[in-house]
Symmetry: C2
Amino acid sequence: MPSEQAAVIGAGHTRFGALAEGPRALLRECVDLAVTSVDRGLERTEVDEAYLGTLGFNGWQIGNASAVLAEEARLVGAPVTRVENACASAGFALRAGIQAIESGQRSMVLVVGLEKMTDAASRRRRYWLGVSGDTEWERLAGLTFAGVYGLLASRHMHEYGTPPEALAEVAVKNHAHALKNPKAQFRKAIRREEVLAAPRVADPLGLLDCCPVTDGAAALLLTSVARARRYTDTPVRVVGSGAASDRLAVQERESLTSLAASRRAAAEAFRSSPWDRSALSFAEVHDCFTIAELIALEDLGLVPAGGAAAMTLAGETRVGGRLPVNPDGGLKAKGHPIGATGASQAYEVFLQLRGQAGERQIPGAARALTHNVGGSGASATVTLFEAG
Amino acid sequence: MPSEQAAVIGAGHTRFGALAEGPRALLRECVDLAVTSVDRGLERTEVDEAYLGTLGFNGWQIGNASAVLAEEARLVGAPVTRVENACASAGFALRAGIQAIESGQRSMVLVVGLEKMTDAASRRRRYWLGVSGDTEWERLAGLTFAGVYGLLASRHMHEYGTPPEALAEVAVKNHAHALKNPKAQFRKAIRREEVLAAPRVADPLGLLDCCPVTDGAAALLLTSVARARRYTDTPVRVVGSGAASDRLAVQERESLTSLAASRRAAAEAFRSSPWDRSALSFAEVHDCFTIAELIALEDLGLVPAGGAAAMTLAGETRVGGRLPVNPDGGLKAKGHPIGATGASQAYEVFLQLRGQAGERQIPGAARALTHNVGGSGASATVTLFEAG
């Protein structure tokens, strides 16, 4: 049992998109915003540990990401660790931060997620993303991430009769949500017919089923619940956390319609939580492709297997529906700066559970989940949060 | 205060050198050796967390290092996290593993360090290493790691009168130690005159002052002291751990003859230890260049500033001397597979404190220190171990 419970007391987020800023500026901006978000203020000297989730840092002109964060966050001296678990880099960094607080070993932890994707030459960028999946049986045979998720979508349609309209509705909904998120990459409503008619990328997935290439960063400040009240009257507590791995190659997994890493991570997170799935106000799930959101809803136990399409088509996952999913626009429309996503999801939870989400606020939001996937399901984290 | 104390109950180590094996085979080998080293056996299903320290994984054809470790260690399902902190990657991975045990959150943790350097095209390899130092003021101006350490050596000579013979003696000693380490890259005695006459790399450092380019991996199994006796009668306890960061560029640091990150990490490690420096049986320090070993001895408080040269020339740091340093040959002669070094150092401690170091055994070794540096001092970890 943890000796402490962790709570988020501050969070910051850059705009997401194709940005002019380099990685140093993005780190500085999100950390500054997180520090200034602390209601009763925070001295940076109080931060005694930091974790940075980022995939591609060594592909840039600047390496040694943890040292760069130490400088840009003005934390030189404190231990800083870079965590890299593909698209779940920030999810695992957040988990490390939670553990450092829960163990009682650290009193104030900074967790940052970052990716700068548009500066990399496109040949290199594809290379980096590709190596996060299986190489021997997938990448070298030409199977891209879109290709993998296209396979999952085909099989999901075959097994459960999932209609293309359900995938399209995920994109339509997440674009609608992003319209109300000033930091989202795509702030443009799209119609279901547009999604269905978009150029094919990996059948049955079209261009509008895929998340974009994004720059961005997000930061979180964690302390213990016991200390949190010194900083704010409205901390956001962490009440559950789980993580798991799976095989890299989809052909070696037991199922093509479910990610075992997500199921395992969710089971672990809910095991320690004081409440179950039915108590959730909303969920932030890893929708790198539209099919991924449907599979996530099923893997997280938010709907029985095969039920996500009907749930989505019924509007239940829209803000205003029974269980809003990705109110910030999700990876699909907010954008997916690989190593930043896990922290960005928790930023949305921080806003929503404090009633600070503006136009997209979910009334009475009190309990939420974040779900971050690495590779095409080779790893996953699930984190549960509660207001107050 | 930690709720548990951590102990190493198993360790494995590949040969170090220019190896034919790829990263998957190296991971498999070191983990298999660690598992079979557990005196009363271990089921892999008991391992509930793993950390992998590695720098260059994304530079290979295979990425998503944590998923690759999950497969090769046969731990698919368990959470696995990749940690990248330049040359201190495994030092920070070890620290994460220690924390996971100390917090009581995990019961059996695998920590692995890995680097496969010789498969990378040499242009790329230099690029990766270079980006772990400062880019804006050092790398792009042509200052290599050897150049940085050459500057530190020049200044150390200027301030303390450190003679070139003391640097040479570090190389001579570590080569002599490596002669008795069957897993070392260089098993060849060298003479002081050879070191002094070797081609210059970055004056005053010559070729024989520099560590080589190395492939290799090492693995450690950690559990709590309370559980350790189920597995072995001779666990190696972790009694102190510290980590810190510093600025990337040496020109922005307060000193050219000392690494503040090492000093801070050592201070933190000894703060929680039941014994002080005088109780050490030996030390494993980060001798990427000969000057680095001298500076480490001073930064770790094993000798006053400026005193390491005399200590070394007097033979005190040889096996058989007052405080043996790098009995395995150190980075200089055992080899320095970047992300593996922090785990390799702890492997040596595991052997020595259990009396299993063969020809190079330090009689009565009971307490030891490992010291791992990232970049040219941008980060450091120090870990303290005690037998039994």
